[in-house]
Symmetry: none
Subunit: 316 residues, 2 copies
DNA sequence: GACCGAACCGAAAATATCTTTCATGAGTGA
DNA sequence: TCACTCATGAAAGATATTTTCGGTTCGGTC
């Protein structure tokens, strides 16, 4: 009998070793995010869980193992990977998810975009998918990590942002915005430049890498250099277990939406990354509001001026 | 290889003789209804359960017993009385209830982002705003104009995309994607380059200008040149009455969401522009599917290879 | 005021469920 | 081909839940 002590029910559960708190409704997103790093058996389990939360919530660990043709151990492993201490907690979350789905509106499942879809359908489906991506990302974002990253950025002497390809544009977006509120940020255009820059970083600086795959060498390399130089490093990636996280003090996970031939992964990852970047920006702007406010106002001013040149500027 | 393939999870005990199916969300009511027929200890348990479903869902039977100063047996008895086969099922229902309650009180995000908003609120509000922007954009997009622009792009000998600042990133995004499916597109980095390029355009080419304000000279100028050279011109702008539309054969309108000091207009306009650009891209990819398909597949391949380097698996 | 019966209640045994360990074998890269 | 890693499930081990059973309290009765 372990009469230890009442485990202080009300409060938040002590986040186990994982670091990522259990997801409430972001489970489907999490499954998609982590699916690539799962083994086949675990994928089967994850698929079953994501496909029928209500049904799986009614199953014991043994039942789910049999249903998916795997073993109890695999089920537990999957639960762990999804961020729960064990199957019991996954099951609880599943029940919650099922209840939400039930009470909520229809799942509104959309089909993939087809080659012969009329243009109006394309618009509707793309908009829906991106909205979904945003919701997933927001739900799956670790606010603790985010807060830490914000704090680091706000206090940084200078910030380097690394990204290649589509992620490079996101990197530039963040850089532009940071410059606009008076922070020093760079987004080196190519890898060599990035590494050269990274060498200059030291404690108190921040290096931020953006890569969907989590394994883009061109981005990892400068981050590694920055990491070793003592800079605070942040990674924005869709693969929280990818190599890039090895050198990241803080990891921000972007969601991975289902993709189709006509809707490459790059689209949803970009949407997801931009949301994260926006969150970082706003968070930082809050922190340094005193000094950022004039800059923000100045931006306003400049824009208003442009608009003013137009016509009756219906402001706002 | 024991592909026994368990038919259904049915193996579990049938719901006891009770006959009453587990209550979904009417738990609080049920507690009140049954309270009179409960013993004192059971009432304590029922009260705790009804008062803090989320908290109780996190407790084991022992924990709840201690919290209420009763015993496990009493907790189980209470669960039975409430219509569940046992505590385990009550707990599951509790988790569902908690999730429902949580999701129920979501619409508090109608306010602007404040300086002292906690980071979690920032995430929620930003995501919500961007979703709103997407919905607005999709609703306001003229599919006829869009279709015409798609047709022009798909048939173009070459395409120039103009954009400055944040819009410049969107321009680059479109350019990257078009190149990836074998179309010739450029996004000149500065105005002079843009104009120089524009001079080369002629009938059968497309020039596409992206500007939120609709009056950005750096973007209008090259578009004007292209227009006069006989190229088909497209404008993506938030001001369908702005100067830029003067030289545009097709105008695609982006939505302008409300902005606040901490959420500059650039954010929502970017989201909006990207959606439009994605629609253009997908539309074009549909039109030239025959030639684009191999390129799209090749992109896939390249990505898969990257992933392959990470770990061995490629489901999907 | 004392006795009796019934029902409440909790401690601990019994059972079910979940978690961990460990040996095996499939797949991979050299 | 061989060594090696890692996924995998069987079974042991740990926890949680359910049941059993006897003590206790309360209300009614004589």
């Amino acid at each position: 009998m372990k009469e230890t002590f009442a485990p202080l029910a009300g409060g938040r559960r002590a986040t186990g070793g994982g670091g990522a708190p259990p997801a409430p409704a972001a489970l489907a997103a999490k499954v998609r995010t982590l699916a690539p790093s799962m083994t086949r058996s675990m994928q089967r389990v994850a698929e079953a869980v994501a496909g029928d939360p209500a049904g799986c919530a009614a199953l014991t660990v043994t039942g789910l193992a049999e249903l998916t043709g795997t073993s109890e151990a695999t089920v537990v492993r999957t639960a762990r990977l999804l961020g729960y201490p064990g199957y019991r907690d996954l099951r609880l979350a599943l029940a919650g998810l099922a209840a939400q789905q039930q009470s909520g509106r229809a799942p509104a499942i959309t089909t993939d975009i087809a080659v012969d879809d009329p243009i109006a359908d394309v618009v509707a489906k793309l908009a829906y998918d991106e909205q979904q991506t945003l919701a997933d990302t927001a739900a799956g974002l670790d606010t603790v990590q985010l807060g830490a990253a914000v704090a680091a950025l706000a206090a940084a002497r200078r910030t380097d942002v690394y990204g290649i390809g589509a992620s490079g544009l996101v990197a530039q977006d963040l850089t532009q915005k940071m410059l606009r509120i008076g922070l020093i940020a760079h987004a080196p255009g190519d890898t060599h430049l990035a590494v050269t820059n990274a060498v200059q970083l030291r404690a108190g600086d921040v290096a931020l890498a953006i890569t969907h795959s989590g394994s883009t060498g061109d981005v990892i390399e400068p981050l590694r250099v920055a990491f070793e130089r003592g800079a605070t490093t942040v990674a924005i990636t869709g693969r929280p277990d990818g190599p890039v996280t090895q050198y990241a003090d803080h990891v921000l996970t972007t969601s991975t939406a289902r993709e189709s031939e006509l809707r490459p992964a790059a689209m949803s990852s970009r949407t997801s990354q931009l949301l994260v970047v926006d969150c970082l920006f706003v968070g930082v702007a809050q922190r340094i509001y005193e000094s950022a406010a004039p800059a923000l106002a100045a931006s306003y001013e400049a824009l208003a001026h442009r608009h003013g040149a137009l016509r009756g500027d219906r402001g706002r």
